[in-house]
Symmetry: C2
Subunit: 119 residues, 2 copies
């Protein structure tokens, strides 16, 4: 079993994951990275070189907004969802569900060939 998901799997759903985490409340880059790592039991280890450009892109698209905060001890850049980001999250989640269904319908007959461990 891979101890980590590859770049290609992440692609296309990493936005969705980040928006999901942001939906639970404001956070900053480093904490977001830890959240993803923890929530996935170490399987999603998005790199800083991935995360920061992604956050900048989401912000440029108006899906999140940021502000620098120093009162919390260290200088951090906090991000939070905008209304547009919230709508995007909903539509991305819906599209994701459709997509997963689509793959499952292709995969289910294949699974029949092998001993299926009960989940």
């Amino acid at each position: 079993m891979a101890d980590r998901f590859g770049p290609d799997l992440l692609r296309g759903s990493l936005d969705l994951m980040v928006l999901s985490v942001l939906a639970k409340g404001p956070t900053y880059g480093y904490q977001l990275q830890q959240s993803l790592r923890d929530a996935s039991r170490e399987q999603v280890q998005a790199q800083a070189g991935t995360l920061y450009p992604l956050l900048h892109r989401l912000e440029a698209d108006g899906l999140i907004q940021s502000r620098w905060e120093e009162s919390t001890g260290r200088k951090r850049k906090w991000y939070e969802l905008t209304a547009a980001g919230d709508r995007r999250l909903s539509s991305q989640a819906a599209e994701w569900d459709l997509y997963v269904d689509c793959i499952r319908s292709l995969l289910d007959p294949v699974r029949g060939r092998m001993p299926k461990p009960a989940v």
Copy 2:
């Protein structure tokens, strides 16, 4: 709702889809394209410029093997899974399940925020 999945969603799972179709029996490029389109209710429309290089890559990796066949009327290049391809399919499917689970655990709390249409 998008009438077609974007490149980023496909990425990383298109291999899996192709291997899944191949698992049901030998096929050739054009037919594979139709199979994907049909099985996904028009949502996966992988282009020829995507599919053929992908097939060449899978063959170079020893996951599938090909032979030209003319007796079936038109000249076609038939592909079939190798033993290695079969093993790869199993592991990719397992990884996919893990991945989907991982996203779901991030998405479920978010879904609570909005009226969820029963599927």
